[in-house]
Amino acid sequence: MIEPQVGPLNLEALQNGDPIEQTRFVELFSDRIYRLALKMLANSHDAEDVLQETFIKALNALPNFEGRSSLSTWLYRIAVNESLMLLRKKKPEASIQEDDFVDTENEDSFAAYQILDWCCLPENVFMNNETRAVLDQQIQKLPENLRAVFILRDIEGLSIRETAETLDLSETNVKTRLFRARLKLREELSTYFGEFIQENTNGRS
């Protein structure tokens, strides 16, 4: 994980409620927590709510933090739970997505894979605003249980072990979910870039 340029936190001061240390704690982690919430919820207003609730809960709970996991894993866990709670409150049917992949019966069949090599598109195509919007939309289409795993591991760069710790899953379970999330996203991007390539070829001819 890439740590921002802030010196190490003094855990004891933090747990004793030292406001300077608490401020550094916020400075150190707020980008990551906001990003996670934004990816989970796709709504800046909701992300801000989750950001605030996460730090309020964390500062209250810090005196009980036992250091069994790292501080960042612990904080991510609070933020994921806050995000899931907000998602359920907003649309209760979302909890249906917590199932054990019954919605994916055909997915592992090789015939379902799209074979289109879009890797060689120019780099600016991957970074433009339209593509970025599509990337965000596609994360939203993932079932929640896959979404959290993908965000933590592949976007935030946690290790498999840290992701497992944060979400209270086994490492095997994380790997399975990660695989499904990545494949789903690859399929969606293949469709999107396939259309892109077709449009641009037609435009030229």
């Binding site: 406001p19 707020s30 980008d31 950001l51 309020i56 500062l59 592992d108 289109l116 790997k175």
Partner: protein
Amino acid sequence: MEDHKNHCEELITSISEYVEGSINPQLCLELEKHLSECHNCRVVVNTLKKTIDIYREQNTQDKVPVDVKNRLLARLHLEDYRK
């Protein structure tokens, strides 16, 4: 591809670990041999890697907007402790 099909299905479940670099060495050899012979699986592996890469790259730029951070610090009564 028809001849390969079963083999592809068998190996495709390990490409996520292959991309992670956490695949066991024997399976890795088998997969790499297969990839050298199977265009379709190569495309799947390459586009899967690329999918992960573009998500990683677009992410590093996102930061909390200044006004959002200010409201957070105010909510925590920490607004006077910033450096």
